[in-house]
Amino acid sequence: MSTAIPGLAPEVPLALPTPVERALPNGLSVSLVRRPGVPLAEVRLSVPAAHADLAVADMLAAALFSGTEGSTMTQIAQRLQGVGGALGAGADPDRIAVSGNCLSSGLAELLDVLGEILTAADYPAEPLAVEQSRIIDGLSVAEQQPEFQVSRALDARLWGDHPYGHQQPTAAEVGDVDRGAVLALHASRVHPAGARLIIVGDIDPDGAWAAVEKSLSAWNGAGEPRRMEPLPSLKPGPIVLANRPGSVQSAIRVAYPAVARTHPDNAAQHLANLIYGGYFTSRLVMNLRESKGYGYSPRSRVDHSPAGSVQLTSVDVATEVTAPALAEIVAELRGMAENPPDEAELDLARRYALGSVKLATATQSGIAGYTSALAACGLPLSWLAEHSERLRAVTAADIKRVAAERMNPDGAVSVILGDGEHVTGPLADSSEIEVL
């Protein structure tokens, strides 16, 4: 340690672009963000879809670009490709989302294609059947992936009968979907009321707005919006063990309560999560990876969804160290209140958090993604600047209090996917287990 580590140059303040906010008479909210850089435009559309049947919604998303009354799938794909563009769609319990990008010179063309599919997607039988088979085939592969398997078990354990408890339809459910159901879902739910379109890039907002007006004003109908009920509280209980014979690793997931972005404790929660396991310099990574070599990417994150928030530790470890790794996770969680961070540990996490906001908003796709995620929780992009100020004000006492309230392992829900033959015994020595 001979040479002095250079300090940081004076901080350049966060400079968020100011979105131009507009709305079409049909109810579509539009955020337009000029962000020069590369000559591209990023497009995100979110349509509320609470309580839509997920299997039907997945089919709708997969076949959205499969043809309209006037265009074939190939013609649609060619028009997008001609402006360097691509569009894709997906569904989750809250929404049907379309995202894509194109050369900014081709934005009007991409929006025109978007307008056509929103108003006239026809889900022709043959392409729909192809997409149905592809989803089913894809599920058969996904169902072999530990990440997918453990997420499914965790969602069910955490949320039960709430729509978040079943976020991935089964092959059988997808197989039961017919064209009529897809058309009916489009007719009832794919509407501009409550929907938000976000365009970020090397664009002229006035020009982009004119293109939006031209291509999306004809999209209409109020639809039948439904509200998503809030997530239920976590119910602690025995560790759920999902057996995966032959698995060479165990996927350990430990969930514990979190508050929403709008809660006064959110900034402290953000930093507490970082200190515990939310970045490389965290206690969890230093212990499980750099000291013990148990896992490649131990991590903890706070998930903010429209229906509620949760914190989640994820660690994939070699089968033989499953029980000791879980013991370390529990000890580190408990340590957040019993051995709270000092000013130096807190300040390190704070600087990381403040920098992360700058990094995440430094790109067109980052701004598009952040704008979309915040809007889903009813917040504007400028919330990031307010959040940054709140991060600066968090004290070590705040961290200790927040950790004691919500990072207590006694209030957690744990799910482990692994080879039951090898992990059940060691886990049962220290914990109560429920085998799926």
């Binding site: 040479t3 580590i5 250079p6 300090g7 940081l8 140059a9 901080e11 350049v12 303040p13 400079a15 850089g37 590369v38 591209l40 799938m73 190939t74 649609i76 794909a77 060619q78 997008l80 490709q81 001609g82 360097g84 563009g85 990008n101 050369l103 010179s105 081709g106 392409p127 088979s133 592809r134 085939d137 894809g138 592969v141 072999q144 992936q145 530990p146 060479v248 690793q249 490389f280 310099t281 750099e290 070599g293 148990y294 896992g295 490649y296 994939d316 070699a318 300040d347 600087r351 990381y352 958090a353 403040l354 920098g355 992360s356 700058k358 990094l359 908003t361 430094a362 067109q364 796709s365």
Partner: protein, 433 residues
Amino acid sequence: MTVATIPAPAFAIETFRLANGLRVVLAPDPGAPVVGVAVVYDVGMRSEPEGRTGFAHLFEHMMFQGSHNVGKAEHMRHVQSAGGTFNGSTHIDYTDYFNLLPSGGLELALFLEADRMRGPAITEENLENQVSVVKEEIRVNVLNRPYGGFPWLKLPPVMFDTFPNAHDGYGSFGDLEAATVDEAQAFFDAFYPASNAVLSVAGDFTVETARDLVERHFGDVPARPAPVHPSFAEPNLDAERRESYVDERATLPAVAMAWRIPDPVTELAEFLPYVVLGELLTDGDASRLVERLVHRDRVATAVAAHATFMAEPFASRGPTALLIQAFLPPGGDVDTVMAGVHEELARVAEGVDEAELGRVKARVAAQLLRSDDSVMGRSRRLATAEVFHGDATMATRFAVLLGEVTAESVARAAAALTPNRRAVIEVVPGGNQ
């Protein structure tokens, strides 16, 4: 879309070389208050010693274990305390280390990269710990999932005969466990001199400041000779090679085919048509193979084609390949898919419509531009352009060069993908059986 309308990124690029041989690329862009700092070393999996598969990647991990003035795990702590992120990645022909930080952290990142360029702290304890971490990484990415390593680890041993080209670059557990401190030091001595590296900085800074900081921190990194890069050349195939393996976690049959293609560096003009061909075959629902195999014949559920094993056509050397991979519905017949591919290649060989070619080129250009959206991606692309093509500014010209590819050359490329030069690897699903 014609060549003239393909937009080029609008940032300046300055390059220079320090006395110790380090090549430096500076690309200032005040668009956002962040900087990307990348160091690319001209060594990859192909250069690791026989009996030490996975060594280049293991060594990449060792570069994060501390150096002269930086303790274990402190590289990460310093970057993160500046509000930044970091990572490293090991490729077939290069290894890169990259940092993205708020612009106030530029000097810190340069200091950290210079410090480990003088030599990482290679100890028994760190090596043993990182062997464990790498084994977990391999379990996550290869052993514990369906199609792990398909096709990038599975195809080379079918196509190639020599160790550098054919071996598993992630490494066997036996080889990883046998790695020694002395070997790590020897690897550093051979492949990590400043003269074998490119430093690239993109983002919010002035050229004058960055140049001074680079001189200050890297100027006294000792000068050492760059390694001589041996030729990895192997004869082309003159008869088809085909192998298969059972993947116990796979549920769908899959197949990957590959053909040797011109050298991405020394035969760039002849190589570029294959990059365009890959996009023409499988990018989007309008592409030839997606339309034919997925939508019309329904013999594949997904198909993808790309030039070079890790789909990085501008950061690769030869010998390399064009790959076409397909996942089939349950019970699907691989030979039917291969016959369909063969027919479509023959159709492309008969000629390509200019309108279709123009659309494909527009999409290729947009995808290249998108990788410049982040200054981190930009710094990495500039660095690899300097390493492989000896000119960082090539990174901004690839889209235009691809735009100049003619329909005739794409047709010729397709015609060259004949069954007798093909290497094929087939995945037999064992999952759910």
